[in-house]
């Protein structure tokens, strides 16, 4: 196994485990300040939007807001499935099937 990848896995393990563990281990004793909690409450949506936007709006590093951008078009039924079902599996499968169908044209 590549040493760089192993180092990466260990680093990722730590930064993933710590936020999952900390509140459960210490929240009964220490309270996080309201300001920090408020800031944290914006992080999930912000980070997910920041991750998603380039995936569906950029193509080969260029802004691609047009019908030829398969991912952008596939995102529409994908969003609809998500809003309607609130189910991760159905949302993912709808998105993947949409891409497969769009690739037929």
């Amino acid at each position: 196994m590549d040493a760089k990848v192993l180092l990466l896995i260990i680093g990722m393990m730590l930064v993933t485990y710590i936020p999952r563990m900390m509140p459960l281990a210490i929240l009964s004793r220490i309270n996080i300040s309201k300001g920090v909690l408020n800031w944290l409450s914006y992080v999930p949506v912000a980070v997910l939007s920041a991750l998603l936007a380039p995936e569906i709006l950029l193509k080969d590093g260029q802004l691609a807001i047009n019908l030829a951008n398969t991912y952008l078009i596939a995102a529409i039924p994908c969003f609809m499935a998500g809003i309607y079902t609130k189910n991760i599996f159905l949302t993912v499968v709808t998105g993947m099937v949409s891409v497969v169908l769009l690739n037929q044209f």
Partner: protein, 234 residues
């Protein structure tokens, strides 16, 4: 007593298994395409156990991003779990803190959703969580490893829409996170910033910068609205 709660936990993992399989398979296939080995996929699923950040890591590895940038992005992506486990904490005071800090390893978006619904109804012992958590983790490991093994035989994963599994999962997670309208505005700001930064600064800094700026903007808007509200009502 223990046995029945363990069984109950395993049963509760069923919808999670369904959710993990397509995403896990897609991750395995794409990770191999990005240059990871089956063993590396196994180790990552075993030790990191975080769907979206595993995808991101594989993608960033393929583009030669630095380890530090990948770890920092992973931290930001997974810091959302801080809020999840914080909301879970008051319901599991029956379990010792030391044990809880171990169980925390297995709190993902999916297992959190199942757990919080379960404890809101009635108190659960550690055995319920062992059943739920280990079953879900096993499903994640097996689906990703299966995907990695199949990946060597799938020359063109785009054809099966596999490379859309990650954006689609972001869509699903994003929708589950939106609880009020103000958050949508911050999401749009983050999306705009992410694109603008990516088009102008090389590397993967767009995610980190867009997140930090838009979350801070959210707090500032809250403070400003509070102030203007209190001054207008005075």
């Amino acid at each position: 007593m223990h046995k029945s709660e363990l069984k109950q936990g395993i049963k509760a993992a069923l919808p999670v298994i369904f959710g993990y399989f397509p995403v896990g398979l897609a991750f395995g296939v794409l990770a191999v395409q990005a240059g990871m080995s089956v063993a590396e996929v196994f180790m990552m699923s075993l030790l990191v156990y975080a769907g979206s950040s595993q995808f991101i890591a594989a993608g960033m590895l393929a583009t030669q991003a630095s380890i530090g940038a990948i770890i920092l992005t992973t931290f930001l992506v997974n810091s959302r779990h801080l809020l999840m486990t914080a909301s879970l904490a008051p319901f599991v005071k029956n379990i010792k803190a030391k044990l809880l800090s171990i169980l925390g390893f297995w709190v993902t978006d999916e297992t959190y959703a199942i757990s919080i619904a379960a404890v809101a109804k009635e108190e659960k012992s550690q055995w319920y969580f062992w059943g739920l958590f280990l079953t879900a983790h096993l499903a994640w490991i097996s689906s990703t490893v299966l995907g990695a093994m199949a990946g060597n035989f799938i020359p063109d994963p785009q054809r099966f829409g596999l490379d859309f599994a990650l954006p689609a999962m972001f869509v699903a997670l994003l929708i589950l996170q939106v609880k009020h309208k103000k958050v949508i505005a911050i999401g749009l700001v983050a999306a705009f910033l992410s694109i603008a930064i990516k088009l102008n600064i090389p590397g993967s800094w767009n995610i980190i910068l867009a997140t930090l700026i838009s979350a801070t903007l959210g707090v500032m808007i809250d403070k400003w609205m509070q102030k203007s509200f209190s001054s207008s009502s005075a």
